[in-house]
Symmetry: none
Subunit: 414 residues, 2 copies
């Protein structure tokens, strides 16, 4: 594949080098650029302060496009704007429109603008303002001509992801496309699979994909899911998809970037059904994931976080005797939780989970990581599955929530 433009990414922030914050911008921007047929040639991280100017200079010299993140805030260690202006010998001018936008940002939130925020409206002469609807720091774009002999286009973007991501989509992508030199973007298809790991693909599928001429493929594995990325002409991508679906059609959740909870809410909405959720070990995570989806109030109405035994009895009618006899983490309890949630939640289906998140509470018979998942359907039979995810508390919760949502997806025929 041709790499038409040399892109340098400079992420700034002392916290990234002290290790108190993970640097996730490289991966996110890398993925987004790949969709455009572009790649990052080099990524550099420097602390706030003097090092920023030097790194900008190197980036300008080596790149055709320089993307800088962070350091656009109102405090004293936010110096990216000034460093760039100094390197390029540009004057800083207060941009009226930018200042108005910042003022409006505060006014709409009924807050008073601090004097410090005023400096966020200072921009190097000739730069474009990139609007930031999610924060006070406007981004900046300097076309190649402003960097003189370097002939390098520069983007300054805010550090916080919720500000950076939307700005990247609406302001950066169109400008990258307008810069030209971008060959036609190859087709890029992302298939989301749930319930299998990257190593499952290595058994056969990976080799088959490698034999497809002109197809580039890669994986992104997360807890309980794998994205398969296929890059190439439409025909070649389709061929790759055929191979993947033949092996793992049942595990394929989406081909349009939708995540598992979005797919579940979509299926429920289409079928006019509601789901109730009873959670012990996931402690509300399944409900929280469902309600992350806009429109979920049409399909989700009742959630029960039955963390204690009494709560299992009081809220979803689990039998006291069974709780003692089989224990809270057991097949009968998962079954009764699901059926109780169906009843109390007046729903068409209900999913319930109970398990041992750890680090304590395990036994030889039921070690930390054990979970029972129940799925009850109005007028149908209740299913219970036993699983084991011995990965530590957060990962366990995430995995169990993943399996529970996947159960719902499967019963809806998704």
């Amino acid at each position: 594949m041709v790499v038409p433009v040399r892109i340098e990414l400079l992420t700034t922030g002392t916290e990234l080098l002290l290790g108190t914050t993970q640097n996730t911008h490289g991966a996110w921007i890398g993925q987004r650029l790949l969709g455009l047929g572009l790649r990052i040639a080099r990524q550099v991280t420097v602390p706030d302060g003097q090092a920023v100017g030097k790194a900008i200079r190197t980036g300008l010299e080596e790149g055709e496009v320089l993307i800088v993140t962070g350091g656009l805030g109102p405090t004293s260690d936010d110096l990216t704007r000034e460093a760039l202006a100094e390197v390029l010998g540009l004057e800083m001018i207060e941009d009226e429109a930018a200042l108005r936008t910042i003022e409006e940002f505060f006014a709409s939130r009924q807050r008073v603008m601090a004097e410090a925020n005023r400096k966020q409206a200072l921009v190097p002469a000739g730069a474009d303002i990139l609007v930031n609807p999610n924060g006070t720091a406007p981004g900046l774009y300097l076309p190649p001509r402003l960097s003189g002999a370097c002939n390098c286009a520069v983007f300054l973007l805010p550090g916080p992801p919720r500000e950076l991501y939307p700005m990247f989509e609406t302001e950066v992508v169109p400008r990258l496309q307008a810069l030209g030199g971008i060959e036609e973007a190859p087709g890029c298809l992302e298939l989301k699979f749930v319930g299998i790991g990257e190593s499952d693909f290595h058994q056969g599928v990976d080799e088959q994909l490698e034999t497809i001429d002109g197809l580039e493929h890669g994986y992104c594995a997360r807890l309980g899911e794998v994205d398969l990325r296929l890059i190439g002409t439409p025909e070649v991508v389709m061929e790759g998809r055929r191979v993947a679906e033949e092996a793992f059609g049942h595990e394929l959740v989406s081909d349009d970037g939708a995540n598992l909870e979005e797919v579940v809410v979509r299926l429920l909405t289409r079928q006019g059904k509601t789901v109730a959720i009873a959670e012990s070990c996931t402690g509300g995570l399944i409900a929280a994931r469902i309600t992350d989806v806009s429109g979920s109030s049409e399909v989700f109405r009742y959630g029960f976080v039955t963390y204690a035994n009494e709560a299992k009895r009081d809220l979803v009618g689990v039998n006291d005797i069974d709780l003692v006899k089989y224990g809270a983490v057991s097949k009968p309890v998962a079954c009764q939780m699901a059926e109780g949630a169906l009843r109390a939640g007046k729903a068409d289906l209900a999913v319930a989970v109970t398990g041992i998140a750890g680090p304590t509470g395990g036994s030889e018979e039921k070690p930390v990581g054990t979970a029972f998942l129940g799925l009850a359907v109005r007028g149908g039979e209740t299913r219970v599955v036993r699983q084991f995810h011995p990965w530590g508390r957060d990962a366990f919760k995430r995995q169990v929530s993943q399996s529970a949502l996947n159960l719902v997806r499967q019963v809806l025929g998704g």
Copy 2:
């Protein structure tokens, strides 16, 4: 503050720039070095292949210590060893001890060593082998004299964390210490504040902190919270803390890295109290955050996700008439939800939230982003606060959960 040794970190790997793998080495190594009183001056990531040699050259020129990760594997795109030898003009020699270790690694796992693994025993003349008990790739250490005029010590380390981390501890740390020039580690204090933003610090506090001689400070802002980082001698750090606490003592959540939910669970545990949670707009997120904390089952037993009006009535006894008269997002409903959760959840305190996450459902009087938070205390008065967080669905949920947990913290005197 003195930065005694300039450390360059070079992480190699195409997947890091395509974004299919998160680059977590920077944060991990950064944290580890900070404990030794050292810092990463710059972190660079380049793809596998030609770019590695050039990046090594730059690292040698600019650093006093160069740490390179990745590219020590057996496959064709693993070229770090060769690239370093070429840059320094060193011959590659097969190291007998290293070869034996690799052979033993395979033998102990009853696997046959592939011919490709043989190249992992090739080392630049004069380099030390760093033993890798967790994989086939030995690490390498080149003392400063081998880099000639650059006078830069070089570590080549394997990419996989389970190989890298132990090798860093046993092989890298002692050599860094032996290099000398390491001053006594400065104190590093991280204070977590909730309910204020980075710009709040700029009003006075930031300036005061700057006047403290020998104190380095910085911020890391996330949704609804700010970390203030103070670095310097113990006296100077304590002085910085005094300044910050004087301004924002009420918002200070922790000084030991504990997050808000950990602090809340800690306070509840110490006071022997339980909390019940009734959630509408956050849809289970508050409960999920509480149950992220190990030991939370002692203090949290009942959670109610009352997403629909009927659920508010059925589970926490909200009055039907009030639901119609005031609407689900209202002061009376938040109040009744909290009191109902206290009762039904048999708890010592209860927090309830109801709001409009959007994107739809807003009105002129109650726009998207409006939330009411109720806090009921056994034998005490119920408080309700109205808030506004117009940040989009995910951010809204996060902010409201943050405020709810902070209410609990405050009532517990934390």
